[in-house]
Symmetry: C2
Subunit: 344 residues, 2 copies
């Protein structure tokens, strides 16, 4: 078992990916392959002690820059770190890929090189978000801005498999994110998806609203990638807003400063519960392989956890479970697609 | 000048609407008409001192219940409090309406009885949200789940007028809410709307993301009603989540409890900045009239402020400014609509 890491990806390459990889080797005994500019990686590695038999380097000459289009990267940068990492995975030299590089290029490369699981039209990015009770899977958080109902059903099935495999939920409660809880609420996409999910093998519990999604009512929350991106970012933005206002207000008085010291532990617990970094990365579900997408500003700790989760996803047979769930709902998916064709 | 108040609307009717109306009379000298069951209103009014010449009652026999469909309410409840309030407005006996009743029914009634402003396809609900700098107008927050690009342009023009009139912003920075800042990011709706807004008379600054929308980069944020609803509710949900986690953690230790006491003022300031209640209600923009929609759980304070804002919207000529902005962009709007027809 080896995990390929895009050592050139993210805001702090190669320092942070290398540190994360070393930590994964030391803490979990996972074999890693650092894909990137060999000399840079070697220089960085000198700072650490680790089992050298477990850490390999795969040299490459190119890096996908943030301003490049995914299509451009795919066509022109065939020796980029992400492309080589995904190639290693396709050739069975790596069991999974972890990257914090250009998200669009990583997705495009994964989809192009590895192909989708049969029955999946659009791979989706899933992440684990906190709630007052159980952690909850949410998808799609950004791969597909425009969706059809059958895509949302596919996302729901993939999220269900994820929740069963990785969060050990026996019968995940699956919900659609909507602007109201009642059946019949939602935009056209959500309303049509509602009907599909109701007929599926899923434990579909209906809609959840933005306000109640943090209350732990659902184990899997399904939405299109545009809404999913905005949802997560609004939550982050609200968090930052609150932090900033409190910081400004606390700085105005000594009593408040002392109060802040007294509340250090509660604030630390809050930060721990709210941060996704502990989970580490978001898998691109629905491809024949395992690619974990990390935030550009990921820390070494995130990399370390993402590498561990990549291994778990493979070990626990996440993709096999997705394929099984798709098969169990094959007729429903095909009917939905043929309906859509008729509608056009 | 008199404002009609739906005294039967909201979670705490008739107590709270009556108290809010009395406060508006006493604090601002505004004339109000309480529309609802006369005996109930009169009983409630006995608790207060106020200038009786400024507070009137209009009796009605029906109330729209929360489970009813807007269409049903419109067809069958012609003597409901919201219908009578809107009728008073149409007949020029009231200059505006304030309601915390069934949102769908209120919107449907307002649109049906008062009609849209010429050039507006879909009236939209706007609200003022806090940011680290200026308060910011966001719309649509729930009236239209499915939108076309020309609707978003109309929302943008109405938000612009709102910002100029009520928040005294000279050249409002108008932005689209999207999943990325760069041009070309977004779902199909946002991408097409981007092109329209760019060609309009607006001071269009491009896209803002969910994470940065609280930083005060824009004065007007435009989205469809589905995304707008989820955005506001996710912000509320995140706020509640943080409050609950901190509350649980603080209860675990004496040091934290003392700390919390010390931080009372910062928390209070935060609450004040985050709450919309101080602004009071969200106007339904784009109708020939002024209807302010309040949360079902509105307090008397919210009603009082909503009544004041209803008066301001009328006094400051908000609808006249909307009509003017629509006229200035008439050709653009017509081209967009005819393009859409060709596309079908």
């Amino acid at each position: 078992m080896a995990i390929a890491i895009d050592a050139m990806g993210g805001d702090y390459a190669v320092t942070v990916p290398v540190e994360g990889a070393v930590n994964a080797v030391n803490d979990f005994g996972i074999d890693v392959i650092l894909v990137g500019k060999q000399t840079e990686i070697e220089t960085e590695l000198k700072r650490y002690n680790y089992n050298e038999s477990k850490l390999h380097i795969e040299n490459c000459s190119e890096v996908v820059e943030m301003h490049e289009s995914p299509a451009q990267a795919l066509r022109q940068k065939k020796d980029s770190s992400i492309r080589i990492a995904v190639n290693l995975h396709r050739n069975k030299q790596a069991d999974a890929v972890v990257t914090a590089g250009h998200t669009g290029a990583s997705m495009a490369t994964a989809k192009f090189v590895l192909k989708s699981i049969q029955g999946i039209d659009r791979p989706a990015i899933a992440t684990v978000m906190p709630s007052l009770k159980n952690p909850c899977v949410i998808l799609d958080i950004g791969a597909n801005a425009d969706c059809k109902p059958e895509y949302l059903l596919q996302f729901a099935l993939m999220g269900d498999a994820f929740s069963r495999c990785l969060l050990s939920v026996k019968s995940p409660r699956v919900a659609l994110l909507s602007n109201g809880e009642e059946e019949g609420k939602g935009n056209l996409l959500v309303k049509e998806s509602y009907d599909l999910l109701k007929e599926s093998t899923l434990n579909f519990i209906g809609n959840v609203e933005g306000k109640t999604m943090f209350q732990g009512l659902a184990d899997v929350i399904v939405c299109d990638g545009f809404v999913g991106n905005i949802t997560l970012k609004v939550a982050e933005g609200t968090f930052d807003f609150i932090k900033q206002v409190l910081r400004d207000e606390v700085s105005k008085s000594w009593v408040a400063k002392l109060g802040y010291l007294g509340m250090r532990n509660p604030f630390q617990s809050l930060r721990k519960r709210a941060e996704y970094t502990d989970w580490g990365g978001a898998p691109l579900l629905g491809i024949q392989g395992m690619v974990i997408i990390c935030h550009g500003n990921s820390t070494a700790h995130t990399y370390r956890n993402a590498i561990k989760h990549a291994q778990e996803c493979v070990d626990l047979g996440l993709n096999e479970m997705i394929a099984r769930e798709i098969m169990e709902n094959e007729t429903l998916l095909q009917t939905a697609e043929s309906k859509a064709v008729v509608a056009i």
